[in-house]
Symmetry: C2
Subunit: 223 residues, 2 copies
Amino acid sequence: MRDQPAMLFDLDGTLVDSVYQHVLAWRRALFDQGFDLSAWRIHRRVGMSGGLLVHALGRELGHQFSESQVQEVQAAHARYFREVGEGIHPLPGASHLLQELTRRRVLVAVATSGTRETAGASLRKLGLGTGVPVVTRDEVPFAKPDPDLFLAAAERLGAPVASCIVVGDSVWDILAARRAGALGVGVLSGGYSRQELEVAGAFRVYHDPAALEQRLDELGIRM
Amino acid sequence: MRDQPAMLFDLDGTLVDSVYQHVLAWRRALFDQGFDLSAWRIHRRVGMSGGLLVHALGRELGHQFSESQVQEVQAAHARYFREVGEGIHPLPGASHLLQELTRRRVLVAVATSGTRETAGASLRKLGLGTGVPVVTRDEVPFAKPDPDLFLAAAERLGAPVASCIVVGDSVWDILAARRAGALGVGVLSGGYSRQELEVAGAFRVYHDPAALEQRLDELGIRM
C-alpha cells in the first residue's frame, strides 16, 4: 500500500479561531504609532510574516517604517494579543482531525508565520500531541508567503514536499504551498471567502477542520 | 437639470470601522451562553438585525434560542461592544464623503440594523451633521436583509427609493437594497470579498468611502 500524503497545517484561522483577535491587536499596535489602518486591510494581510505585514501596510499608508518601528509594532501586537489570550478557542473539530489523521498514519505538522511566543497560547489551547512538529517564524529565514515554513515542516516529517497537502485559511498559505510544490487546500475559518482561496489556487475549500475531516477521501487520505 | 440620486449608507463597516469589534462582541456574548461559534460565521451574519443573527447562528449550531436567550445575547453584545468603544474609528474618507455629497446637493441618510444605543457611539465618532437622517433598527418592524430600513430612509428624504443608491459592506445590505428597488453598491471595508458583494448584486465595489468619493461619477453623481 502506498504511503498516505503528509499534511501541513497553518495555525491561526486554520486550527484555532484567532484571526479576528490578531486583526484588532495589529490595528491597536499600528494606531499607537499614529497609523489609522482599517481592520479589513489588516485582515487580508494576516498570515504573512509580521515584518512583511507591517512593511506592506506601511506601503498602503505611503509610509516607510524603520526597522525599529517595525519591531515596536510587532511587540505591541504581541502584547495586545496576549491580553485576549483567554478568548482564543480551537476551531470546531481541530483536535479531533489531528487525532484522526494520526490514527490513519498520516504524518502531520504545524507551520505558522507567528513567533514561538505568539503561537504558544494558541498551541496550548489546541492540546497538540508531542508527536506533531511545530515550525514557527523564528526557525526559518522567511515566513509565508515564502515556502520556507512548509519546506521545513515537510523535512521535519521526512516527507517529500511534493506529496504534502497544505491546509490554510489565507491566500498566503496557498501561495506558500504552491511555491513549495505542495497541494493547497483552503478553510473558510479565517474569514477569507471561498472565491479568494479558489482563485489563489486552493484545490478544495472546506468550512473548517470538522468539515475537512468529513471529506478526507476527497484529498486521497484513505481509512 | 435632473435631481441627483439620493444616497443611503449603512453604518458599521461602511462609514465606521467597527465590524471586527462587533464580531468579537457577538462571539463573547454567545460564548457566555455556552455557544462556541467561530468568528468567521458571525462575521458573515453581521449587518443583519441582531435577533435574526442570533436565530440564524442558533440554527447553524442546531439550537433553538428562546426569546429571553436572544435578548440576553443581544444585551451582552451591546455591553461588550461598549467596552471597545474607544477603539472605533471612522473609515477613511467617511466624513469627507458625506460633506462632499451635501455640497453637491445629494440627499444623504444612514440606515443601520444596529439599535439607536449601539449605533450611538459610532455615529458620534463620525461627527454626522444634523441634516443627515439616521434610521435605526428601533424604528422599523424588520431590519436588514428586509428592505424596511432603506425604505424608511428614502421616505425620510422624500426621495423615490427607485432612484436611491444604497452603499453597504455586507451582502445583507445588497439584498435589502434589491428588495427595496434601489441600486446596491459595495465597499470592502467590512471584510467581505469583492466577489461576494458582486455575486450578491452590487453594481460596483469600492475599497472604502475615500475610494468611493473618487469615483462618484461612475454612479451618476454630478459635480
